[in-house]
Assembly symmetry: C2
Homo-oligomer: 284 residues x 2
Amino acid sequence: MPGNDSQWFTEACKEGGSAFSLMIREKLHDEQSKYQRIEVYATETFGNLMVIDGFVMLTARDNFLYHEMMSHPALFTHPDPRRIVIIGGGDCGTLREVLKHEEVAHALQVEIDERVTRISEQHFPELCVSNDDPRAEFFFGDGIQWMRDASDASVDVIIIDSTDPIGPAEGLFTEAFYLECQRVLGEHGVLVQQSESPLYHMGIINPMRKAMQRAGFSDIQTLFFPQPVYPSGWWSATMAGKQELATAFRAAAAKNKPFPTEYYNAAIHHAASTAPEFFHRALD
Amino acid sequence: MPGNDSQWFTEACKEGGSAFSLMIREKLHDEQSKYQRIEVYATETFGNLMVIDGFVMLTARDNFLYHEMMSHPALFTHPDPRRIVIIGGGDCGTLREVLKHEEVAHALQVEIDERVTRISEQHFPELCVSNDDPRAEFFFGDGIQWMRDASDASVDVIIIDSTDPIGPAEGLFTEAFYLECQRVLGEHGVLVQQSESPLYHMGIINPMRKAMQRAGFSDIQTLFFPQPVYPSGWWSATMAGKQELATAFRAAAAKNKPFPTEYYNAAIHHAASTAPEFFHRALD
């Protein structure tokens, strides 16, 4: 397989039969936290790179795609997104995007591994620029347990910004967890979760959508977007709502958003919601 | 850098600082044609893979993305696409998609290297299923010269399905070539050309769009789509038209298309035409 040497970092994706590599300058950090191995590299063209247990988490250059698509579609779909909970998201990139919305009164990041956040503050300071925002709160602990303990109808938008559904994040892709989310979300609640590659992982996306439906969400919408550093370079996030998502989308607000983005805009919202032919057929 | 060994084929993208690898079973073909080195591998998960001069051309698994986006948007934008010319496209995948349109009376594939087509017939027979269609014609020769020799207003849609704008294909990305295309296209003529990665190659896309404008095309539209085996996994094609492209799009015909596709549909047409924020800014 492609090598990991002093010039390249390589992640092989077994189920995809593919590998992606980035040219690196130097390793900036390497530690075994209580939960996982966390590495940071300086790359030649993608800025800093964070790797957890050998899997690429993000780079400075292209994380805007993922972080914007994990936050703005869901927030512009809720009529009044004031109370936001991010499960995972320890690098704080999603939190930064969430806090661009003025309506947000409180954004809680529930990350199991505090070291991810501390390392991000050091090596991805641009993602952590809003960490001192008085609306931001950090809880370092288990997301599944947090959701069980949360009060009914106490959250407007839940963002599940987790690793793959293997290992510690597996429980975040289950009907039991979605049932808790459904209970914790308020009347117009919206949930959004990263949902892997449309090319490689229909076997994850399909059961996940069905579990969301069984948990009582009345509408499910998968968003498609490029993400070069993730397997296949093509990624998705799936929204689940207590109401019809397309009609709830505040298109005018998205069109007139008072903050800058690199990828997302109102037209991209519609575009990302558009499913390819094979996806329609796979859902039938 | 990542290795090329008996288990992996790797293409490094120098300007992107990245590399993409596919797990391989065996090499099926390796020849030096008059123009280039052509290799075919059997991969573990992507079916057969064609490589030219070390660059991934296509795989059986994901070429549907590229071939559908190189053909259907342009054909559904022309009011009556009867006469089609494909410059390059020797693997015949674009030709196959073009011939799905019943209105097409004649589709000419102008490929410089006949060996690409012969090897495709052998190792990608599914792309060549329409090669015996009486509407299909093959000319093996230089695309730039062919365009110079072509009569005025003799073609409805020109599809430039070429390699990167380095080496032999460089002349296909110039104002001089677009001027010839403009002359050869009829009244409602549409041109479409592969235009590299939106993440890596804005330095190609921007000048290319400007050259099309200078050549007299009245509307330019870049289409965005995933393409896992090309650098960054995110690719583009750029359409140039003698009329406003969005209004010319035959949406009802696309919606009711009588042939199957894997990726393209009428909604995807709109979605692919939607530019990210950074792209709008880069064009300003």
